[in-house]
């Protein structure tokens, strides 16, 4: 089955129809989606700026990451679930949309870097404790902030394409 055929099938399901017809569901789901975006952005901003050597440089990078990683995990799960509901409600607007898939790729990449690569810092924090992260980690910090910004732009532009 092609993606567009799947989208048409999904659109015709009673769940999808219900989500579109009960007018208060989508605005409230989107509100939770934005609240979760704010949690990710707030946590990522502090964590990545710490890696970039801008913020909280007197605190070990591993401590800062350890503090905000669970928040990011929970928020990412909320984003996934609320996002899934939005896709079910409007499959044509999302599944057949290049910007939507660009956003998904960026989210997957950013989440993977946050949950795996950054987490490896926690494993050897006996060595890095109190020290400044290496230069590569600094550059990655700035790149991650840019990626999260790009994700927000993609998200808003999905509604206009």
């Amino acid at each position: 089955m092609s993606i567009s055929a799947f989208g048409e099938w999904l659109y015709a399901t009673s769940v999808s129809t219900e989500l579109r017809e009960v007018t208060w569901i989508i605005p409230n789901i989107q509100t939770f989606h934005i609240l979760a975006i704010a949690v990710v952005i707030g946590s990522a901003l502090v964590t990545e700026l710490r890696f970039a050597g801008v913020l909280a440089t007197d605190r070990p990078a591993a401590d800062v990451l350890r503090r905000y990683l669970p928040w990011m995990k929970v928020a990412l799960i909320v984003l996934l679930l609320t996002g899934l509901i939005l896709v079910v409600a409007e499959p044509a607007r999302t599944l057949g949309n290049t910007i939507f898939w660009t956003k998904m790729a960026l989210v997957a990449g950013a989440s993977l870097v946050t949950l795996k690569a950054r987490k490896s810092i926690l494993q050897n924090d006996g060595v890095t404790e109190g020290e400044n992260p290496p230069e590569a980690s600094k550059a990655l910090g700035w790149l991650m902030i840019l990626i999260w910004c790009a994700i927000i732009f993609c998200g808003r532009f999905i509604a206009y394409t």
Partner: protein, 168 residues
Amino acid sequence: MSLESVLQQVNDLSISSAIRENVNAFPILESLHVLGLAIVFGTILIVDLRLFGVAAHRPSAKRLTAELLPYTWVAFVMVAITGLLMFMSNPVSYANNTQFLLKLVIIAVAGLNMVWFHSTTYRRIAEWDEDMPPPIAARVSGAVSFILWVTVIFLGRWIGFTLETLFF
């Protein structure tokens, strides 16, 4: 001059019609608005939770506030500017939108809560800077701020579904 005619004059400004007529202007403004509010709410949330008694990345509440507040303010200015530009593109509709008016009121109340906190409990912060849990006044202020900002985001999203978009 009536409010109605002022709104109409804002509507007729060249910048207002430019935002209406450029297909990319509104989504770009919205994206910057969402990015800004995510930084505003994200950083305020860290401080609110700390005031409520949830540990942040450093023990000192005073240093945490001083460290994050500049980011909150810069982002808030961006949110205010992009919000004003979106308002200008359709002032009559926004002025008649309940969610929009309520949102402005709640933002003002959140501001008053902040002023109240900074002129009372925050003045004695040296006495409770690293205390866990913080004093009851700080906990109340953090909880009130959290509820108000969540309401602001909720109302903001509802504007997009209730605004009469009659451009001409």
